[in-house]
Amino acid sequence: MTVEPIALRKKGSFDVPVPPPNILRERGQQQMFCGLAGIIWLHRKMTDAFFLVIGSRTCAHFLQSAAGVMIFAEPRFATAILEERDLTGLADPEDEIEAIVARIIERRPDIRQLFLVGSCPSEVIKLDLSRSAKRLSAKYFPQIVVRQYTASGLETTFTQGEDACLAAIVPDLPAEKPHDGRSLLILGSLPDIVEEQFRRLFDALGIGPVTLLPQSRSADLPRVGPRTHLLLAQPFLAETARCLEQRGANRLPAPFPFGVEGTTLWLKAAADAWGIDEDRFEQVIAPARDRARRALAHHQRRLRDKRLFFFPDSQLEIPLARFLSRELGMTLLEVGTPYLHSGLLAAELSLLPPTTRLSEGQDVERQLERCRASRPDLVVCGLGLANPLEAEGLTTKWSIELTFSPIHGFEHAGDLAELFSRPLARRDLLKVGP
């Protein structure tokens, strides 16, 4: 299969909410992470930030289980574990937090921003972290900014932790200055290498200045206002996008930059806002786009017509399913997402095959029954389900890798396809069995 050049649509046409076809809304037992997981990649991206979770031993245990070996590299995150005396009111939580923060800052004097991160336990006992954040901000001004957000399982699922964190930064973004021209704000943490690839393309197109949220250093917060054009690099940032729009930013509707089509349309949304003509656009993106097509060709044979089942995890599922079906010819059986924001995903939904079964939320036992019954060739799921499904003879792709690997843009389109073709290749290769 070759990827045909797609007709580019005019700006704004994606904004029309498309009613999601065949959507199944389920509630029940969930097999997903809470938003605390976001800390694991956010702290790598925001190099002068420290994340202090106010929670329980469970929160600390989760972070260390999810962070794997990273925990040992003197990470910039920790948990203030609530003890009996905190729960019985014997200790003043604000004093306790203050003492712990003092210890952290003593150990890490390089910290410039500190996040107090709410968890399920801290929410249930109604700890007011915003008061603590204000008090600490005043105490450490101007050396350190202290912010707070919640990433509890009660409120957030996995990548929504990044949304909650970034939304907490938005009020602190400086306003545009009167003489500022238009700017492009790319929203969502991306691996450094991807960030630079996009910067080069925007430079070549003459689009700029380009700013980023999150920034690697807190001193570089982007300015925001009515001349800010907002391009989302990740689909799970609905709340942050809303906050930025409230501050005047104009969101450029586009699919997300996965694969040739997604990346082209994503760049095109910015190019149209800057009035870049078609020829120039074509000339700039052609080399990288053609490389991406060649890279995808390596995986098309193995993936074409393979039947795919997505368990919900990160909200990346719908854009990735669109990429896998349109550019690699995979057949979508079910695409599960923890949360479906039909406004942000309008452009994506219009590109999905209309027969796709979408599911939002989860009742994991029933979803497993549907999965087993449909005998997919490939199941995308979390680590709690992957090995058990493999043991049942299904081939799986564990989904967390999709949030940690560089997968955006033209240069990683082949890598992204490989993440899905590798488990199938391995299954063909191995000559072991029961």
Partner: protein, 509 residues
């Protein structure tokens, strides 16, 4: 509040899961918020289990808080019962649900299920994982043991015992149980029941038929064994057969309790460890200063092996589980040192840095501390990572366990010695980095790793070279090589960013 980056133990409900996962026919329903199901991956990934742990979570979210959440728990419970048809249900709450007013036990009783339901009280802010496992196992034994079941008269049968303690996510529990079973068989003693690992509720009901109990892991089995001793008068064998000497003591104790002859097992002793440690090769181990930290059972046993069987000097000894602080203090006294009882890894790090031992025996955390300090290390206790759930047979207990201990503790020291010698002779003309291994002299590598062979070497443009630097180090060498070969094949003299990415897309897949 207590500042924690690393925790040695999870919360107590993880302990309950370790017991439920180890058993057959048991299902655990946890009242827990969405997100707490992360714990499943410890079992499916670290222990590499083929099945999901038999645990169902109520997965409540903010919108359920209030009246709704108790109803949600009841629904979850009845659905789990219908779906899994277990012989025994455990119900409990994780830390967040513990703060709510719902009573999982009461809600479960209201359902009047036709199977035993045990309500677990798991105080998350004061207790931890090992306590949770011990409490869960104790409750199961107490609720299910049929007090009318007693051993049959000894006439005409072999003595039999229960092996208590092996559980899910236990450090080498799988192979320890196998090794100890072999050892007992050598003595003519049968294992009536191994629990919780592999046991069903019906098996637990008949726990009283054994003549005595062998406690392999006191952290998990001690409360249950004490109750069995009181209720069934089953004696407890407390010697843990970790190390060569302890294994021989274990045989002696079993022989006394089971009333069998220890001589055949002691004479058969197939261990290679005593000769390995006596051989002249091991002389340099004498007086090596070792720091030991872990769960109490493994730490105390490791100290004895290190001191009596390898000839090390014990520089430090400690544990993270306070429940066994007394035992560890007593053991430390034997070596004339002060025990370190803490669950704060920063305290452990400070002590290791201060003592500067030559070898660290500890958990995964001590392995990393030692790496940072440049000290040799081996893992002797949980918490451990996936590499310490090996495919190969590698018990810690019994005679084979002693062999395993010798190899796994001495290897890092030999590695350290080798590294030291290599550094010392680094400037030697025939022993430097560029000359490569002597037995591979015909494949002498070029400095900087393998390169494609060509007379015309392509040059890297500065921008491309910088981009290459952003590629993770473990694939950078391959990327460099592939790109250069790609450039050579096409007669490209200067590698630009474009060439780098052209090569990447050409070679994808």
């Amino acid at each position: 509040m207590k500042l924690a980056i690393w925790t040695y133990e999870g919360p107590p409900h993880i302990g309950a899961m370790r017991v439920a996962t180890a058993m057959n026919g048991v299902h655990c329903v946890l009242h827990a918020p969405q997100g707490d199901s992360y714990a499943d991956l410890l079992f499916t990934m670290i222990e590499r289990n083929r099945q999901r742990p038999p645990v169902t979570y109520s997965s409540f979210q903010a919108r359920n808080l209030g009246q709704d959440v108790a109803a949600l728990f009841k629904t979850t419970l009845s659905q789990a019962y219908e779906r899994f048809q277990p012989q025994l249900l455990l119900v409990g709450a994780s830390c967040t649900a513990e703060l709510l007013q719902d009573d999982p036990g009461g809600l479960a009783r209201a359902l009047k299920l036709p199977i035993p339901v045990i309500a677990l009280d798991l105080p998350a802010s004061s207790k931890k994982e090992n306590w949770g496992a011990a409490e869960t196992f104790y409750q199961i034994v107490r609720h299910l043991a049929d007090i009318d079941v007693r051993p049959t008269p000894r006439i005409g049968r072999r003595p039999c015992c229960n092996l208590l303690g092996p559980a899910g996510l236990g450090f080498r529990h799988r192979d320890d149980a196998a090794e100890v079973t072999k050892l007992l068989a050598m003595m003519g003693v049968d294992v009536a029941l191994c629990a919780p690992m592999g046991a069903s509720p019906a098996d637990i009901a008949r726990i009283g038929r054994a003549d005595f109990n062998v406690v392999l892991y006191p952290e998990i089995a001690d409360p249950a064994a004490r109750w069995l001793e009181r209720t069934f008068h089953q004696p407890i064998v407390r010697t843990v057969p970790l190390g060569h000497g302890a294994t021989r003591d274990f045989i002696t104790e079993i022989a006394r309790v089971a009333d069998v002859d220890p001589a055949p097992a002691l004479l058969a002793d197939p261990s290679r460890m005593p000769w390995w440690t006596q051989s002249v090769d091991s002389t340099y181990l004498t007086g090596k200063r070792v720091f030991i930290f872990g769960d109490a059972t493994h730490a105390i046993a490791a100290a004895r092996v290190a001191h009596d069987e390898l000839g090390f000097q014990i520089a430090g000894l400690g544990t993270y589980n306070r429940e066994f602080a007394r035992e560890v203090h007593a053991a430390a006294n034997l070596y004339g040192i002060e025990a370190l009882i803490t669950d704060d890894h920063l305290d452990v790090e400070a002590r290791i840095a201060q003592l500067q031992p030559e070898l660290v025996l500890g958990t995964q955390m001590e392995r990393h501390i030692a790496k940072r300090l440049g000290i040799a290390a081996a893992v002797i206790s949980a918490p451990v990572h996936v590499e310490d759930f090996p495919a190969r047979y590698s018990p810690q207990m019994g005679f084979e366990g002693a062999n395993v201990l010798f190899d796994s503790w001495v290897h890092p020291l030999m590695k350290g010695l080798e590294d030291h010698l290599l550094t010392m002779f680094r400037d030697d003309f025939e022993f430097n980095d560029a000359s490569g291994p002597s037995h591979l002299s015909q494949h002498r590598p070029v400095a900087g790793g393998p390169r494609p062979s060509s007379d015309v070497r392509p040059v890297w443009a500065a921008e491309a070279e910088r981009e290459l630097g952003k590629i993770p180090f473990f694939v950078r060498g391959k990327a460099r090589r592939n790109t250069e070969q790609f450039a050579i094949d096409r007669g490209v003299a200067i590698i630009t960013l474009g060439t780098l990415y052209d090569a990447k897309s050409h070679l994808a897949g």
